[in-house]
């Protein structure tokens, strides 16, 4: 009996082996040989680099995460709109101004849609922009330092969602409002929304050399919800497209009341025309109150300036600048193909995708074939602008990206899948499941004339069982697909941090050589910097004490400080004298009511400490900097408020 069993097992093994061989060429098979083939596609050998960067929005973490593709490894979390105790961002004296707004200091944000700067319609990798949804702001991250260097608040906006997408030459980063509000804000009954609220579409200019942001103008549109947007490119460069929902102008139970109209609109904005109008003095300066925060790489310090007015434009004052394209069923995503011809509006309550033609739209505009108007803005006829419909493609279409080979990829939230279809013929080529309930998807080089193909990843809202369980709260999941073939191939599952809305990705070669290794000490213009151990000092100004401190392997200078009193406000200004790649030093003092500082080579950061207790309190380096990291420590003596302990400091010898 045993022998029979054995031979059966043996025969089965042989059969399995043969089956595996037969299947190895079949892309739908799941044989061992094939899975190892997939593993190779995402395997980046130790010490080797990924071919692509992915900048994935951290959603309600307020930050931006940096990943590598195809490995799915996370390299860095860049603090943007949220305090980040790891580095001291938003806690240090230098970076607190970055989080200043017209509502005061805000420790948190909801980041959504990163977009990389472009030149001639191609990704140039200088900056990445990202929007904050809750208290409307746009941030700029410098891709040589991977640090947030500028944040501008957007007045008259609420729910900064159809943002932050850049035009073909980064002329503008555009921010549209999801919630319409009274403009200017005022006390009024909510029920009077209709006809009284407005939606601001903000065009923020980006200075070509410095990248400095400035709100050039805001278009005050009817009180709809402006959901997502994308710039025209190529032939449609100069236009911007925004999806709208709630054209019903409901203010309560929107899930029902904003879903009544069969069609909402895509707003087509000829920004070149409005720019020209504004350059000729058009529009009006309206009183406003918004923060503009700029981080200077040389002083290592941010400054916050409150701006007091903004230029607004009434769209009906600029004939021929704004049109509405009827689009079925509360469209969400608004995507423009690499040629600039097709504008895809994903009616999130429909099963079909609507594709508008830019050429047909221009034709209808030129022939003034209008189908009424909304608040003075001409509505074009649906049939006149429609290029085609992708039928029965799935349920709940959200976002579309392109591979540059004439194909489009659309996510379907309800049916949890990505559908590949062909531009022009509208035929569905392939569909692959996602896990689960996919929101955005990203193809490297996405929002540009030249997508960089090869990979696509889907960012999902629901994780459930995809990873080892971690209690009720889970990280979100993403799936990476190879899109180089006719059919998409699922390669990898990887967790993402926060709630990734959208991501921008690009070939790593564009920026990796430009990434800074250190800050040059010679360029440090921080007013409290010290440039050598002997340059350090402690200065008292009333009850403020400024400690000019340095760090270098493996000591602080000074490391003994006396003469501090309870009630003093002690500023530790710490300069890291290192000029070697990847040698940060950290700083923390016992009882500090704020975060640590993590100071990069050549950088100066400051932390405030208000000691409440008499005693000798240690401080130390928090980053394992060297073999003698544990020795990198010091003491600060806090005397009673009325004491006469003289202010003294030392390093290497005792205080006498």
């Amino acid at each position: 009996m045993k022998n029979i069993l054995k031979s059966i097992v043996a025969m089965l093994s042989v059969l399995v082996a043969f089956t595996s061989c037969n299947n190895s060429g079949n892309s739908n098979g799941k044989s061992g040989a094939l899975s190892s083939n997939i593993a190779e596609k995402v395997y980046v050998a130790p010490g080797e680099h990924d071919s692509h960067y992915a900048f994935i929005s951290g959603g309600y973490s307020g930050n931006l995460t940096v990943y590598g593709l195809p490995s799915g490894r996370m390299f860095k979390e860049i603090p943007v709109f949220s305090q980040f105790p790891t580095s001291g961002y938003g806690y240090s004296e230098e970076t607190k101004p970055m989080l200043n707004t017209s509502h005061g200091f805000i420790p948190w944000g909801d980041s959504h849609h990163p977009d990389i700067s472009q030149t001639n319609g191609e990704i140039d990798g200088r900056f990445i922009f990202i929007n904050e949804n809750n208290t409307p702001r746009i941030a700029k991250i410098d891709l040589t330092t991977f640090e947030t260097t500028e944040i501008i608040e957007v007045p008259n906006s609420a729910g900064n969602h159809s943002s932050s997408f850049v035009t073909e030459n980064t002329e503008y980063v555009v921010a549209g409002t999801r919630f319409s509000v009274p403009v200017p804000q005022r006390d009024m009954p909510i029920k009077d929304y209709k006809g009284n609220f407005q939606g601001a579409l903000s065009f923020i200019s980006v200075a070509p050399e410095t990248g400095n942001m400035d709100i050039k103008f805001q278009i005050l549109m009817p009180g709809f919800n402006y959901d997502l947007s994308h710039p025209g490119r190529g032939k449609s460069h100069g236009w911007f497209f925004f999806t709208t929902y709630n054209t019903e102008e409901a203010s309560t139970l929107l899930e029902v009341n904003a879903s009544q109209n069969d069609k909402d609109f895509i707003a087509a904005v000829n920004w070149k025309k409005i720019e020209e109008y504004v350059n000729n003095g058009g529009g009006t300066m309206m009183p406003a109150d918004y923060a503009h925060n700029v981080y200077d790489e040389h002083t290592h310090t941010a400054t916050s300036t409150m701006k007091k007015e903004v230029r607004v434009v009434n769209p009906t004052d600029v004939p021929g600048a704004v049109f509405f394209l009827p689009t079925p069923k509360s469209p969400h995503g608004c995507d423009v193909d690499p040629s600039g011809e097709y504008i895809i509006g994903n009616g999130k309550l429909s099963s079909a995708l609507t594709v508008h033609s830019f050429t047909k739209m221009l034709d209808a505009v030129n022939n003034e074939k209008f189908d009424g108007e909304a608040y003075g803005i001409p509505i074009l006829k649906f049939e006149d602008v429609l290029a085609g419909t992708v039928e029965s493609s799935g349920l709940g279409p959200l976002h579309t990206e392109f591979d540059g080979q004439g194909n489009a990829y659309t996510t379907f939230f309800i049916s949890s899948e990505v559908v590949k279809w062909k531009l022009g013929t509208w035929e569905v080529i392939d569909r692959k499941p996602t896990y689960y309930s996919v929101g955005h998807l990203t193809i490297p080089g996405g929002n540009s004339r030249k997508p960089q193909g090869k990979y696509m990843f889907a960012m999902n809202k629901i994780t459930k069982d995809r990873y080892l369980p971690t209690g009720p709260e889970l990280e979100h999941s993403a799936q990476l697909y190879d899109i180089s073939g006719e059919k998409m191939e699922l390669l990898l599952d990887f967790p993402t941090h926060g709630e990734p809305h959208y991501a921008a990705a690009m070939e790593a070669d564009i920026i990796k050589e430009r990434s800074k290794k250190i800050y040059n000490l010679e360029d440090n213009k921080h007013p409290y910097a010290a440039f050598s151990d002997s340059d350090t000092k402690v200065v008292r100004k009333g009850n403020e004490v400024h400690i000019y401190m340095t760090t270098i392997r493996s000591h602080f200078s000074p490391d003994n400080i006396e003469g501090i009193k309870v009630g003093d406000k002690v500023y530790f200004h710490i300069t890291n004298l290192e000029q070697d790649f990847d040698v940060p030093h950290g700083f923390a003092v016992l009882g500090q009511n704020t975060s640590e500082l993590l100071i990069m080579p050549g950088q100066t950061k400051s932390s405030v400490w208000e000691p409440t207790k008499v005693g000798i309190w240690p401080f130390y380096c928090t980053d394992f900097c060297s073999a003698l990291h544990q020795e990198m420590q010091g003491y600060i003596r806090v005397s009673p408020a009325n004491s006469n302990t003289p202010l003294k400091w030392s390093m290497g010898e005792d205080i006498e």
Binding site: N520, I552, Q579, D580, F581, A627
Partner: protein
Amino acid sequence: MKKSNIIMFIAAILPLGLFLFPLWKITLEAPQYPTPLGMYIHINDFSDVNPHDIKNINLMNHYVGMKYIPEAIPEFKIFPAGILITTAIGLIIAFKGNYKWFLFWFILMMALSSAGLYDFYIWEHDYGHNLDPKAIMKFTNPDGTQMGFQPPLFGSKDILNFRAHSYPQLGALFLGLGIAGGFFAYLVGKKNHKKA
């Protein structure tokens, strides 16, 4: 001008290349330095291979009590003067002298270069052995003597976690070609003299 004198003229000029190119290069490799630390030695200067390398070499070396690499050493004044003077002598010989003088110049250059190398060795030895008695880390050889950290004069050597390389650079090649050129000028001159 005779052929040998032309060769001598070129030979005398070649060492001036030391003012354009580094003489020597010391490289320190370690796993945590995927880009190695390096220092060029010029006739009149030390310089970084990559920005801040010397500062970082000093930082590494302070753990074992080695002195900082000085900003300037007396040799930076003596060596350039030596090269300028010997080049001047070489040029005078090229215009006025005969082949016997070429041999004299060759021997002079050989002697001075050897002295320079010896001086460099002495400095290296002192740099690697004259350690701060309060050094953070003290290492001894198996025989109990204090471990030195002298980089090799020529070649490669393991020093604790580093692998040190020390090799001549383009400047040294110019000098070597110049010296060899002097000897060649002598040979050519001698041959022509016999013929004549």
